[in-house]
């Protein structure tokens, strides 16, 4: 439980700090921190249940993008304001670092397998973003259909 709180707090602060680095408007900082918290906690809980990190990353980035689109519609701002900082914690920085370290230490087998894993996780981030975009477009289509139906 203590761990859970620490993770929630640090992911919130880290995403918020990233918002400052990217110059996100002041009044949107809290929301972007919240997006990062949700994405990271989804990832962390799934990994905590000993499931695959690739799946966890996909779920995390999917959530980040979905909530960002929700916020973007609520506040009428571009989506990237919210999604950009939220994605950062999911970037496989640790894996890429381990891969690089093994390359430097001439352990190429280990390095290549770690690099492949990092590559898969970046792919999972892309997949998560893509799926949320699909859902977004489906909702848009459904909305316009409803409008045309009510008119006709």
């Amino acid at each position: 439980m203590n761990d859970f709180l620490a993770q929630a707090l640090t992911s919130f602060v880290a995403t918020l700090a990233f918002g400052i680095i990217f110059h996100i408007p002041r009044e949107r900082l809290i929301q972007s921190g919240f997006v990062g918290l949700l994405g990271w906690m989804a990832y962390w809980i799934i990994v905590d249940y000993h499931m695959d990190a690739v799946l966890a990353t996909m779920v995390g980035s999917f959530l980040v993008a979905l909530i960002s689109q929700l916020f973007a519609r609520m506040y009428k701002t571009p989506v990237i304001i919210f999604s950009v900082a939220g994605i950062i914690p999911l970037v496989p920085g640790g894996l890429a670092y381990d891969a690089m370290r093994n390359f430097v230490e001439n352990d190429y087998y280990q390095a290549v397998s770690l690099a492949a894993k990092a590559f898969l996780i970046s792919g999972a981030i892309a997949m998560g973003l893509l799926f949320s975009e699909v859902i977004n477009q489906l909702i848009l289509k459904a909305n316009t259909r409803k409008k045309t139906l009510s008119k006709g």
């Binding site: 992911s11 990233f18 304001i81 920085g93």
Partner: protein, 254 residues
């Protein structure tokens, strides 16, 4: 069809170009830039417009009473300031609803272009330092390493901003920042101030990670802008390898 006059076409072109280049320079996705420019053009009554945006340049052509006019704008330096993107977006919304005249819109956009950053360098460095410490905890580091990671991360971000200002080579700025982080982390562990070198380095390096580039590359890919996706992906890869080699050199030193 009622074509608009020549002078008006040029004015519309100026506004579109200004809005587009501010957005592109400050980190908007390519497809959003194209979308905004086309919307502005349509809102001011241009019947047919076409634009082609890549991360390094904008080509816009508008159809008027005279033969088609085309303008090319080269984008050389790119930074990240999402607040400007939001502001230009707001203005384009206003233009679309017809509440802003062409002259007003031009002045508003010029104001945005000259506006100073919301957060100054020191606030950004403190933010980067704090983020480094938080990432250390998120990657299962121990709380004893929190302060070393904060210092190393802040130092790294400071170096990256400073070197980027002195030498206009992004690769070198990121490389030297990563090198400094590596050195600092090793030194901290050597004098017994920190415990896990790996965790400190991973946490401190995170503020340099090209997150915006990765997200934008994916979003551009989804929107079908293959050229932008590839070039942004290449830029992200270059940054990642700069960080990696910076750390690698620090390894060799120790």
């Amino acid at each position: 069809m009622a074509y608009i006059s020549v002078e008006k076409t040029y004015d519309i072109m100026e506004i579109c170009m200004l809005a587009g280049s501010i957005m592109l320079q400050n980190g908007a996705e390519t497809y959003r830039v194209e979308d905004t420019m086309t919307r502005i053009a349509v809102a001011y009554g241009v019947i047919d417009s076409d634009c082609f945006v890549t991360p390094t340049g904008i080509i816009l052509s508008l159809e008027g009473s005279e033969p088609t006019k085309t303008k090319l704008n080269r984008i050389i330096d790119r930074t990240t300031n999402l607040e400007k993107v939001v502001k230009v977006n707001d203005i384009s919304r206003k233009i679309c609803t017809g509440t802003v005249s062409m002259k007003e819109a031009y002045h508003l956009l010029k104001d945005i272009e000259d506006e100073p950053n919301t957060y100054n360098d020191w606030v950004q460095i403190i933010a980067a330092a704090l983020a480094s410490g938080c990432f250390l905890i998120m990657f299962n580091g121990i709380w004893n390493d929190f302060i070393p990671a904060v210092i190393a991360g802040g130092l790294g971000f400071l170096c990256s901003t400073y070197f980027h200002r002195v030498i206009q080579i992004k690769f070198f700025a990121e490389f030297s920042a990563a090198f400094v982080i590596g050195l600092a982390a090793f030194l901290f562990v050597l004098i017994g101030f920190g415990e896990e070198v790996d965790k400190i380095i991973i946490g401190s390096v995170m503020p340099l990670v090209p997150g915006l580039l990765i997200t934008n590359a994916v979003r551009d890919l989804i929107a079908g802008h293959l050229v932008s996706c590839l070039s942004k992906g290449a830029e992200a890869f270059l940054t990642a390898s700069a960080i990696g080699s910076g750390i690698a050199v620090a390894f060799f030193v120790f």
